[in-house]
Assembly symmetry: C2
C-alpha cells in the first residue's frame, strides 16, 4: 500500500472560514439553530461541494444528510465520519462544524489521492445535535438509531410553533437533487471528530484525545407553584413566593451535589420566573436540573435525592418534579480506540485517552456499528460561547487522523 496521503490544512481552514460566515455573529461566533435558514444554507453549501466532486447526496426523513463517495463493492455499508452543522444560540464556530469539515477534508484527500475503497465513504451531518430550538438534543442521530420515533420527533415544535417536520421538508426543498436515505441503515464504522469543550488536552499539551466514552445524564423538570401577589401590600408571612422556594431549592441542590473530585456536573441552565413583574410576588417558577456523571450508579443514587431535597424546601408552595430526559453512560469499543490512538501516534500527534463530558451523536450511532470519537483542544475549554476557538493545526490533525483511519477501515482496493 502507498503511503497515506496528507490532508490540506489550508483548504480545510478555508472551508471553515466559509462556514463561519453562515450565521456569523458580531461577537465572532455563529448563531445557526437547527434547520433555520442559515443551517439549511450550510447544508446546501456542503451538498454543492460534494456534487462538485461527483459524490451523491442523500437525506433521511429526520433531516440527516449523507455525502457519499462510492466504494468498489456497492453491497457494503459505508464507513463514515461527521458531526453536525447546527449551533447553540450565539455560540461558537467549531462545535460540530469542525467535525463535519474534518470528515469532508478526509474524503477530499482520499479522492485527490485517487484511492479506491471497497466500502463507500460518507460524511454524515446529523440534524439538530444541539437542541435549543427543538428538544431533545441529538435528535437526528437518535431517530436514525431508533432511540426516538420519527413521527414524534417530526411533530416537535419550536417556540414559534414551527415543527421539525416542516423544517425537514424545507431542507428537502432546498436540496431537490438529494436522494433518499433509509433510517437505521447500518455503518461499517463511524468516527466523529469534535472539539473537547474542556481543558484536559490543552492542559496536558496533547493534540488528539481518543474518547473512551460519554457520561450519562438525568434531567429533572421542577415546577414550583405559589400565588401571584402584590409586592407592596403582601407581608412576608402571607406570601406563597415561588421564587423564594425555588432559590432555596437551587442553593440546597448545589450544595448536595458538590463532590471532592469535581466529577459530578450539576447545572441549572433554565430557570423561568412568572409572571415576571417587578411588583408582583412570583407565583410560578419552572426550572430544569441537568445532572451528569460517568457512573450509572452515581447518577441513580444522586438523581434519586432531587425530589426529597425540593420537597423539603417548598415552604408554603407546591412542587412537582418530573423526569425530563436521561441517558446512560456509554463506552466506545476498545478496538476502535486503539486504532485511533495508533493513527494519531503514527502521525506524531501527542494523544491521550479522554472521557467526554458532553453527549454527541456518536453515542447513538455506536448502536449501529463500531464507532469511535476523537477530540481536539479548544482554547480555555470555552464552548457554547461566541469566544469558542480552535487552532488551524489541531483541526488539520483531526482531519488527518480521520483520513488515515477511514482508508484503513474502508479497505483500499
Amino acid at each position: 500500500m502507498p503511503p497515506l496521503p496528507r490532508i490540506d490544512p489550508d483548504r480545510l481552514w478555508r472551508r471553515q472560514s466559509e462556514m463561519d460566515a453562515i450565521g456569523a455573529t458580531p461577537g465572532g461566533g455563529v448563531h445557526r439553530l437547527a434547520l433555520g435558514a442559515d443551517d439549511i444554507e450550510a447544508h446546501r453549501r456542503l451538498a454543492d461541494w460534494a456534487a462538485a466532486r461527483g459524490w451523491t447526496v442523500a437525506l433521511d426523513d429526520i433531516g440527516n444528510m449523507f455525502l457519499r463517495r462510492a466504494g468498489s463493492d456497492p453491497a457494503l455499508p459505508p464507513v463514515a465520519s461527521g458531526s453536525h452543522t447546527d449551533s447553540q444560540p450565539m455560540a461558537g464556530r467549531f462545535d460540530g462544524m469542525s467535525g463535519v469539515l474534518a470528515a469532508f477534508e478526509a474524503l477530499e484527500t482520499i479522492d485527490d489521492a485517487g484511492i479506491a475503497t471497497r466500502h463507500p465513504l460518507e460524511v454524515a451531518i446529523w440534524n439538530n445535535e444541539e437542541g435549543p430550538r427543538f428538544a431533545p438534543a441529538c435528535m437526528g442521530s437518535a431517530v436514525y438509531a431508533g432511540m426516538r420515533t420519527l413521527a414524534e420527533m417530526r411533530a416537535t415544535a419550536d417556540a414559534d410553533g414551527i415543527t421539525m417536520g416542516a423544517c425537514v421538508d424545507d431542507l428537502k426543498a432546498a436540496l431537490p437533487d438529494a436522494g433518499r436515505r433509509e433510517l437505521g441503515a447500518p455503518f461499517a464504522a463511524f468516527i466523529e471528530s469534535h472539539i473537547e469543550q474542556g481543558v484536559t488536552l490543552e492542559g496536558n499539551g496533547n493534540i488528539i484525545g481518543v474518547v473512551t466514552g460519554m457520561q450519562g445524564y438525568r434531567r429533572f423538570r421542577v415546577e414550583v407553584t405559589g400565588a401571584d401577589a402584590h409586592s407592596g401590600t403582601t407581608p412576608r408571612a402571607r406570601r406563597k413566593d415561588a421564587f423564594v422556594a425555588a432559590t432555596e431549592m437551587a442553593v440546597a441542590l448545589r450544595a448536595a451535589f458538590i463532590d471532592d473530585t469535581d466529577t459530578m456536573r450539576f447545572t441549572i441552565g433554565r430557570f423561568e420566573v412568572e409572571p415576571g413583574g417587578i411588583s408582583v410576588v412570583p407565583g410560578r417558577v419552572v426550572f430544569v436540573i441537568d445532572l451528569r456523571h460517568p457512573s450509572a450508579a452515581a447518577l441513580q443514587v444522586e438523581g434519586d435525592r432531587v425530589a426529597a431535597i425540593c420537597a423539603g424546601l417548598k415552604g408554603p408552595c407546591e412542587v412537582t418534579i418530573t423526569p425530563h430526559s436521561a441517558s446512560d453512560p456509554m463506552e466506545f469499543p476498545e478496538a476502535m480506540r486503539a486504532r485511533l490512538a495508533a493513527a494519531a501516534t503514527a502521525r506524531g500527534y501527542p494523544n491521550q485517552p479522554i472521557f467526554s463530558g458532553a453527549g454527541h451523536d456518536a453515542r447513538h450511532i455506536a448502536r449501529l456499528g463500531p464507532a469511535g470519537m476523537i477530540f481536539i483542544p479548544c482554547k480555555d475549554g470555552i464552548s457554547h460561547n461566541e469566544a469558542e476557538s480552535a487552532e488551524k493545526e489541531h483541526c488539520a490533525a483531526a482531519a488527518q487522523v480521520i483520513a488515515d483511519v477511514l482508508i484503513e477501515l474502508a479497505g483500499p482496493v
Copy 2:
C-alpha cells in the same frame, strides 16, 4: 340641603360586569395591559357612557382621560375621583377598575338627583398605572403632576418596540370626539377609591379604610455577568455561573431584610437567566429588587446595604447594581382623611385608618391639590392575580362615600 342621594349598587355592579368582559381571562380575571386593544376599548366604553350623560371627554398627551360634568362656575378647577383601567398580566378585575366605576357611579348618582355643583365634577382615568408593559408604573399621573417628562415617557417602548406615544395616538384615534386636556391643570380635590390588596380591613371586619399615606420604595437592577459554558464538560471549579452567584445573592438579601415586625417588603419579581439552555451554564442573570417601607430613613439605610451584599457573593462573576426607581413615603392631608372617615361613619360603614403598601396615582395627584384615598376589602388580600375578588356591597360603599364627599367638596349650588 336635601338628603344626600343613594348610589345604585345594581347599576354599579352591572357596569363592573361589563368591564370584566373586556380582556377577560379563562381564570376569571382580566388581562388588560395599558393601552392595548382591550384597555382602549375600556376607555371607549367609559367615554360612550359619559357622552350618553352629556358629559365631556378629554384626553391629555400622556393618555389620561377625564369625563367631566360641568359645574355652575366654569372658572373653578374640578373636584375629581378615579383610578385606572389597565391591569397587570393575567390579573384581577377590581384593581383600578373598581375605583373608576365608583367615581362614575358617584357622578351618575349626583346627575340623577339633579344636584348642581359649583365646581365641575370629573372621573379621572390615569394611564398606565400598573407598568408591566411600559415602565415606570403610575406613568400617566406622574407626567400629569410633572414628576416625569412627557417626551421621555412617550418614548418608552414595550417588548415589541411599540412606544407609549404611539399608543396614546391610538387612544386619541379611537376617541375622535374627545377634547384636549392640558397636563398639570389643578384639581380642587382628588379622591381615589381602590381595593386594599391586603387583609387588614377583612381581618378587622371593616368596609372602608381611610388611607393615611403610602410607603416608599427603592428598586435596584442587579446584573450578574459570568460566562456561558457547556454544562457537560465544564467542571465546577472552572465555571463562572451567573445563576449560582445570583441565587446566592437572592438568598442572602432575603435573609438580610427580614424584620421582626414584617414591615419591610422585599421582593424579587423579575429574575431573567440567559441564555436559558438546559445544557448551558448561564453567563448572565438580571434581576430587580423591590424594597418598600413606610419609613424614608429605613429605606435609605437598608437600601444602601444592597450593593455590598451582592458584591460579597459575586464569586468568579461580575456584578453591577444600578438604581432602577424610587419614591419617598407620603401622607395624605389630615383634613381630607377626617372628611372621608366622617362620610363613611355617617353611612354606617365600619371604617379605620390604613396605610397603603402599594403605590397609587393619588400619590402624584396629591401634589396638585388636596387628595385622599379610600380602600375597600378584597378577599384574602389576593391581588395581581386572577382570583382577586371584591364584594358588591363593598364596591357600593366606596361609590357612596365618593358621591357624598364629591357633593360636599364641589359645593352644591
